[in-house]
Symmetry: D3
C-alpha cells in the first residue's frame, strides 16, 4: 500500500466533527472520487461536554465508523484525533503532523484552518460547499436543544443509532441550558 | 451495528504500540476469536521521539492500519489514541473512557494498567502470552539500535513498508544514542 | 471513624465557592441534618483573579474554615479543591474522584455538574433552593464592584474578617473594571 | 480568629505526605506546641499511583483528617494540596502562596524545599528530626511492598483504617512491581 | 555592569506587544530617560494567531529588535517573553520573576497587571499616557483588518519591514474574519 | 535590516545554556565569522532549579547579555527561549518556529536536536567542537557542587558577576544534594 498508492488527508471537518452531518458524508464521498485514500482528522479532541463539542472523542469516532461501515468505505478512510492548541495556533500544523497518518494535501474551507496550514507549509485545497447551512453540525445541535426531532433527518447515514445510545439529544439540550 | 453487536475493547497494547510486533498480531487475532469487534487503544499518545516511543501517533496508526489491511481485519478493529496522565494515573481510566469508542471489557497483562482500570471500576481480563520475550516492541527497538537486521522478522504483517518509509531504524538508532 | 460512619460528599458549591454566601451556609446546615459528615469541594481551583473567581484557593479555604469554626462545624466538614478540566468536562468526575475524600452521594442543583457526575456513574441528588438570588456569590461580587456595602449582609457567618484582611472589595472592583 | 491569632504554616511534609507516618504526627504536635494554628500542605498533589505517591490527594486528606480527629487536633490544623511544578521549581513558592491559607513562617528540613521558599522570600525554619529513618513514608511503603506487616506499627495514629479500606498494601505492592 | 548599574524592568507592554505601536516607542524612550537599562516583557507569549495576538513570539521579538536597532537603543534594552497563566493570575508575578532578568521596579498603566504585581509584592509605577487611543496595537489591527493602509503611520520606527515580510495585514484580516 | 541581511539561527546551545561556558563563547564567535546575525535559542525554558538547569530563564538571559556586552556583540545576537516538549519531541521544531526570530539554518552538534530539526524540514549544520569536555556547562556545575573554585576559569567572559549576584555556587551545590 504505501508504495503504490497516494495518501491524501483532509482537514475540512476540523472543528466540526462534533456531530456528523450529511454535509460531512458528501464531502467524504467527493474526496474519495478524487483520491484513493483519506485521513479524517477529528479536531478539538481536547474538548467534550461543551456547547460546540458535546461529544467525547470516543463517541465521535463511533459516529464516524458507523457511517463509514454503512457506506462501505471503512477500508478507504483513516481517522485520528487532533487537539486544539489552546491559543497558540502557530503550533497547530505540527499537532496535525504528529497525530495524523502521512498525507500529501489538506482540504478545508475554513479560512483560519487554511492560515494555520499555510504557516506550516502544508498544501491546502478547497472542497465544494454542499448546502452547508442545512447540513451543519451547528444546525443539528440547535434543533436538538429545542427538542425539534427534525435533526434526525440531517445527520449522516448510520449515525442515528450511536446518537440514540448515548442520549445525545438530552445531553445537548442540557449543555445548551448552561449559563456561563 | 450498535444494537445487535457487542462491543469489546482491549487495552493490552497500552504503552506497547510503539512498534507493532508479531505478538500484537497474535493477541488481536486471539481477541477476534472471542469478540466480534475490538478497540485498540494506542497508549502514550503524548510521546514521540523517545527511546520507548520513537514513533508519532500518526506513524503508529499507519503501522496498525497497514497490518489490519494485510490481515483483512480492518472492518473489525477500531483504533484510538490515549495520552499518559504524566504522573496522575488515577485519572487514566477517565482518559480511556473519553478517548475510546465504548467497550464492555478491557484486556491487559500489565499489572499497573490493570490497577488503573480497577480503580475506575472497569472490568479487566488477561490475554495469553504469545512468546512475549521474542516478539516485544522493546526487543525490536534494541535490535534496530544495534543495526541487527533480524528485527525485520519480528514485526507484524504489513508493518515493514511503513517502517521503511519513515526510516525507522535510523531514527531508533539515533534516539538510543541520546545521553540524558 | 471510617468503619462506623457513612461518608457523604456534596458538590453543590462547585463553581460557586468564590465568595461564601449565606446560601452556602444554609445548604451545609441542611446537608448536616441528613448526613453525619460532609465533603465540600472547592471548584475551579485552577482559577484566581478572574471576575468569577477573584480569590485564590487558599483564600477560599480560609473563608470556609472561618465560617465552619464560627458555626462549630469544623469537625463535621472535610474540604478539598478540584480544578476545572479546561474544556474536557468528560474528565471532571475523575478529578473529583481523585481530589476528594471518598463519598457516597453528590449534591448539586447545577444541571451541567449533574450531567458530568452522571457520565461518571456518580449518584447525584438535589438540595433545596435557599433564596438563591439574594444570597449568591455573583450578587455579592456585583455589589462589591459598585462599592455598595450591603454585600456585607449577604456573606456567610465568620467570612467578613477574612474578606477584610485580603481587601476583597478593592480586588473585586479592580477585576471587574478589566476590559478583556 | 483572623485578628487575634497568629497564623503559621509549615511545609515540612511537602513531598512526604504520601503515607502519614508517626514522624509526621510528632512534627505536628511539636509545631502546635509553638503555634496556635497550623497549615499542612500536601505536596505532589498532581501525582497518584506512583511508587513515591501511591495515594490520591483525596486519600491523603482522609488519612490526615483521620489522624487529626483521633488526636483531637482537627480544629487547630488547616490542610491544602499543592501540585509539583513539573521541572520549573522557581514557580513553586507561588503555588504555595495561592493554594494555602495565609501563614507567617514555613517549616521544612528538606534543603530543596528550603531553597524554593528562599527564592520566593518566604521565611523558613527547621523542625527537630524525630527518628526519621524508622518513621518515614518511604520505609512504610518498602515494607508494604514486601508484605512485611510491621508497617502497621509505623503509621500515625488513626491512619490504619483508611489504609485498610483502600487496600493500600495491595496497591503499593503492585506499583512497586512496575518496571519502567 | 551588575554591580554599579541599577536594573529596571517595565511591564507596561504586557498583553499589548502584539503589534509595536508608536506609543510603545515613546514609553521606552521615556523610561530610558529615567533608567539606564530596561527589560521589556513580551506578554501572552503562549498566544499566536488570535485576534488579540496575531503574531508569534518570534515575530514580536523581531519587531522589537528592528525598532531598537533603528533607534540605536539595542544595548540598553533587554527583552523576554512571559506566558499567560490561563486563568490562575495569582501565579503571574512568579512567571515574571522566573522569565525576566532581574529588575527593581515595574511600570504599567493596566490596573489588572498592577493588581497581579502587588499580590507578589513587586513595586509598580505608572508611565505617562502617550495619546494611547491613536497609537494602540488594537487600533492598528482594526485598520489592518479593514484594509485601511493608514495603520502604516501608527507602527513604531523600523517595524514596517518586519510586518511586510510576514504578510501581517493579510494574516490579521483573515484572523478577524474568523467566526468563533 | 530584514531585507538586505541574511538571518541565521543556531540551536547549538539548546539544552546547554544553563551555565554559559567558554565553549559557548567560542561557538558564537565562530558563527559570527560566517553570518552577520545570530539567534541564540535558550532551551529547556520550562525548567529551573533542576540539577541540569539550575538557573531560571531570566538568569540565563542575564548571563548571555552580560557576555555579549563584554564582547561587544550585543547588536549581532538575538536571543529567545524555547521550552521542552515534555516527551512529544515531534512538536519541538514548531516550538522553535514560533518562539524564535526567523532564521535560515540551524547549527547543532547534538544528534537528537538534529533529528528533531530534520523531522520539521529545518536545514541543520554542525559547528566545530571547541574542547567540549573542559568547557561544558555540566563540568562547571560539577565543580560548583564540590566547592572547587576552578569553575570560575571555565565560564564565558562577563558571566562571573551574574553568577556571583545570584549565589550560583550555593544553589548548584544544594540542588546536587537533592535525593530524588
Amino acid at each position: 500500500m504505501p508504495n503504490s498508492v497516494d495518501r491524501y488527508g483532509e482537514g475540512v471537518v476540523h472543528r466540526e466533527v462534533s456531530t456528523i452531518a450529511q454535509g460531512h458524508e458528501e464531502v467524504i464521498k467527493w474526496l474519495l472520487g478524487r483520491h484513493e485514500e483519506l485521513v479524517v482528522a477529528i479536531g478539538s479532541a481536547n474538548e467534550s461536554f461543551t456547547p460546540k463539542n458535546p461529544f467525547t472523542v470516543g463517541e465521535r469516532i463511533e459516529m464516524l465508523i458507523s457511517m463509514l461501515k454503512e457506506l462501505n468505505l471503512i477500508s478507504k478512510v483513516m481517522y485520528c484525533a487532533v487537539p486544539d492548541t489552546k491559543g497558540d495556533s502557530a503550533l497547530w500544523y505540527a499537532y496535525v503532523h504528529g497525530q495524523c497518518p502521512s498525507f500529501d494535501v489538506a482540504y478545508t474551507n475554513d479560512e483560519f484552518t487554511r492560515l494555520c496550514f499555510e504557516y506550516g507549509n502544508v498544501k491546502v485545497l478547497n472542497t465544494p460547499f454542499f448546502n452547508r447551512e442545512t447540513y451543519s453540525g451547528t444546525r443539528i445541535r440547535e434543533l436538538m436543544a429545542t427538542g425539534d426531532k427534525s435533526w434526525r433527518d440531517l445527520v449522516a447515514t448510520g449515525v442515528l443509532p450511536v446518537l440514540g445510545r448515548i442520549n445525545a439529544e438530552d445531553r445537548v439540550r442540557r449543555l445548551m441550558q448552561k449559563q456561563i
